[in-house]
């Protein structure tokens, strides 16, 4: 039960990062593109010695002593976290004469606590942007621009991340943080419970669009009246659309992220043909009783509904290893029929590691971030904790680890979140996942076609009042609309009219002007 809960939070968190649409990019890049250097480092610990080579040219262990405090999310006991921090300090002490102090805060309160730490001036060096808009953090000076520190103190990291990604985290010329090396592309599909599909001999591969699912829903419902055919996750439903959110997925988007350079027109998402078409399908599903009732105000997670056998399908994101993730989340095997092939936009580079404004020695914080991103040994301890206490090898050769004896997800003192580290792709793989997971993820990221506007970061400062007003209109309609509870014929028009009254056109115009200027400068 507890595992389920934790996993649902993690999933929700992962979704949040995907939609956070905090971006950066103003075209200040110097290093040549070097994608892959850090991307597929593999799990071989022999990389350790090589990783620090750039920095070890001049020995930095003679620096004066300094403690770098790291704050990030996830459940952990303080004693265990301190122990992990001590273990990490062994590495950084030898190399930089730096001690690590680490604080982990549970998901629910992470943002509040981090905000407090940033605003109160307490000791803090390295912080995860989880739940934040890095643009706002930068405007409010909660974090420092990394421009001055990257080249000198984290050259390996700088080289390991490609130019385009750096652009995505740059706002008005300021690099806000080091992007996490997690999935960097979007893809959506319809998840279906495997045992039902198999038992009924359903041809799930025939589903290419959401509409194709209708005959299947009809069949399954006849046999399983106790199941909701399509469900929401805490009231949220993914949009299976290939839009480029341009840093704000609701107000002003590119209808097709992979459109050509000549056709970069910012439009109102809620008037686009693809959105209206999708909404009509959802309304139709709801009318026919396939949707979970009260989906828009549901407080149930998709995990718990699927796990309890109350649901048949769900619109999910897709990335390598997603099926294994669902097994862990809800205990059910699933099939996922792709609805939207992978593509990438600025929004996919969301989560990042930042240096707090409170940091007394930002350069030392930068060194630690470099270590987090480049050093597999550091990364493995950071993610999995202490060997023997929190984890053990399941297959050392392939770099697969599992919980230590007598420890499980609900009882561990240091919960492992590979995606919560800077660079999961240089770490071990957890039991149950494909040993090639990180290789596949690297390929997934590399192969996803990018939007022409990727790297464009929209700063909403000029239209902040319009954004606030539109957000209020949005909250009123969007969930119910996407859950099929409102009639698109009447309510969609009302919605669009209210958005316009709230100033949507001003936002779209602002975005278009800035996008055009960016294109002229960067392409």
């Amino acid at each position: 039960m507890k595992l389920k809960k934790i996993m649902s939070v993690i999933l929700a968190a992962a979704m949040l990062t995907a939609t956070m649409a905090a971006c950066g990019g103003d075209g200040n890049s110097s290093a040549g593109s070097a994608s892959g250097t850090g991307g597929n480092g593999g799990t071989d610990s022999s990389v350790v010695s090589g990783s620090g080579s750039g920095a070890s040219a001049d020995d930095m262990s003679g620096q004066e002593e300094y403690t770098v405090k790291i704050m990030y999310f996830g459940d952990a006991k303080t004693e265990d976290t301190n122990e992990v921090a001590a273990k990490l300090s062994e590495l950084t002490k030898a190399k930089y004469n730096t001690t690590i102090d680490m604080v982990r805060v549970g998901f629910g309160s992470y943002k509040d606590q981090a905000n407090l730490a940033l605003n109160s001036g307490e000791k803090l060096d390295v912080i995860s942007s989880f739940g934040f808009s890095p643009a706002t953090m930068m405007v409010q000076n909660q974090i420092l621009p990394l421009n001055d520190y990257l080249d000198e103190y984290a050259p390996d990291t700088k080289a390991a991340i490609n130019d385009l990604d750096w652009k995505c985290v740059t706002i008005n010329g300021n690099i806000t943080g080091v992007p996490y090396n997690i999935e960097k592309a979007s893809s959506f599909g319809l998840l279906m419970v495997k045992d039902v599909v198999d038992a009924m001999g359903i041809d799930w591969k025939s589903i290419k669009t959401l509409k194709d699912a209708e005959p299947i829903f009809e069949k399954v419902r006849a046999e399983h009246p106790e199941m909701y055919m399509l469900i929401a996750d805490f009231g949220d439903i993914r949009r299976p659309l290939r839009i480029d959110p341009l840093c704000d997925e609701n107000f002003g988007v590119l209808e097709d992220a992979l459109t050509t350079e000549e056709d970069l027109k910012v439009v109102n998402l809620f008037e686009t043909a693809s959105y209206v078409d999708w909404i009509k399908t959802m309304y139709d599903f709801n009318q026919k009783g396939y949707m979970q009732p009260d989906a828009a105000s549901s407080t149930e997670s998709a995990n718990s509904l699927l796990g309890a056998g109350k649901a048949f399908s769900f619109i999910t994101n897709i990335k390598p290893g997603i099926e294994a993730e669902w097994i862990r989340n809800c205990g059910k095997e699933v099939y996922i029929a792709p609805l939207v092939e992978e593509y990438s936009t600025t929004a996919n580079i969301g989560l990042r590691w930042c240096i707090a404004n409170n940091s007394e020695k930002p350069e030392r914080a930068m060194q630690v971030i470099n270590e987090m991103y480049m050093n597999p040994e550091f990364s493995n301890i950071f993610i999995y904790g202490i060997e023997g206490k929190h984890w053990k090898f399941v297959d050392e050769e392939k770099g697969v680890v599992g919980y230590a004896d007598g420890v499980e997800a609900g009882s561990t003192g240091y919960s492992n979140l590979a995606w919560g580290a800077a660079n999961e792709q240089i770490s071990y793989v957890f039991e149950g996942d494909d040993p090639d997971l990180w290789k596949n993820l690297g390929e997934f990221n590399a192969n996803a076609p990018a939007s022409v506007a990727k790297g464009f970061v929209w700063d909403n400062a000029d239209v902040i009042n319009e954004v606030t007003s539109c957000t209020n209109v949005l909250n009123k309609y969007v969930k119910a609309l996407q859950a099929g509870a409102l009639d698109p014929e009447t309510d969609l028009n009302k919605f669009n009219q209210e958005l316009k009254d709230a100033g949507l056109d001003t936002i779209i115009q602002d975005k278009q002007t800035k996008l055009d200027a960016w294109m002229a400068e960067n392409k």
Binding site: N115, T136, V139, N357, I464, S469, N472, N475, K479, A480
Partner: protein, 313 residues
Amino acid sequence: MAKLSAAGPVKEKKHFTRYLPLYLMMLPGIAYIIVNNYIPMTGIVVAFKQYNTRLGLYNSPNIGLKNFEFLFRTKDALLITRNTLLYNLAFIVIGTLFAIAVAVLLNEIKLKKAQQVYQTIVLVPFLISIVIVSYLVNAFLATDTGFINNSILVSMGKNPVSWYTSPKYWPFILILVQVWKVFGYNSIIYFSVLVGIDQGYYEAAVIDGANRWQQFLHVTLPGLKPTIVTLTLMSIGRIFYSDFGLFYQVPMNSGALMDVTNTIDTFVYRSMMQLNNVGMASAAGMYQSLVGFILVLTANFIVRKLDSENALF
């Protein structure tokens, strides 16, 4: 009547030494209020600033009234102000009537044991967390499994209602829930006043030939008046605040209901959740406090005109 109202502040200076121990006892409380309530009030300046962590609360650049713009640029401002005011008015009027009625009934129970049991029972809803209340409400209103749809409407041969997307029912639902939740607490306060009313008044009234209703009108109600005025004044001071849980949790944050459930608190929460803008959030808070302050002064002014004895100040 005078002895029923709270003792007024002792103004005579010569009594100062006599009451010195009491003043000393007050000191920690005053210090607490100064530190926690008055010093932070200076932070109100942030409502006029572009907040910047590095520069701090007081040195951030001034931007005038820009932070207030978002509150007033759409018709939302009117809507949320209307909702907040009307709901609170309804709560005050209906809640007070209901609480007094229950208090009088409690007072009529002569069996001590039964009285205690009833007192406890009416207090229970007040003690339940609003989040739990929201699920109790959900148990009634859920579209597929809810009590009203399942057990009442369907068995009566009517179509089930999708409660969480039908705004027209919600003003009643919210008032019902709120009154149900808080009446116990207020009726206990009124009840404790009733207990203090001298039985002699009732005896005199009976001798004069007053029936129950007349006793209520001419003895009970005047006895309750100072308490009613004080509690009402205090509610009016908070009329611009809304119980966040009631307006956010109970309707399950359903967007379709927002026209009738959005109040200033939920509006600010929803707008600021995504923006995390300290200045704008403070501006909204200041607007709320300012209007609340003016309302208290006005209400107190009116009470003082009508009946100066019962005014707060």
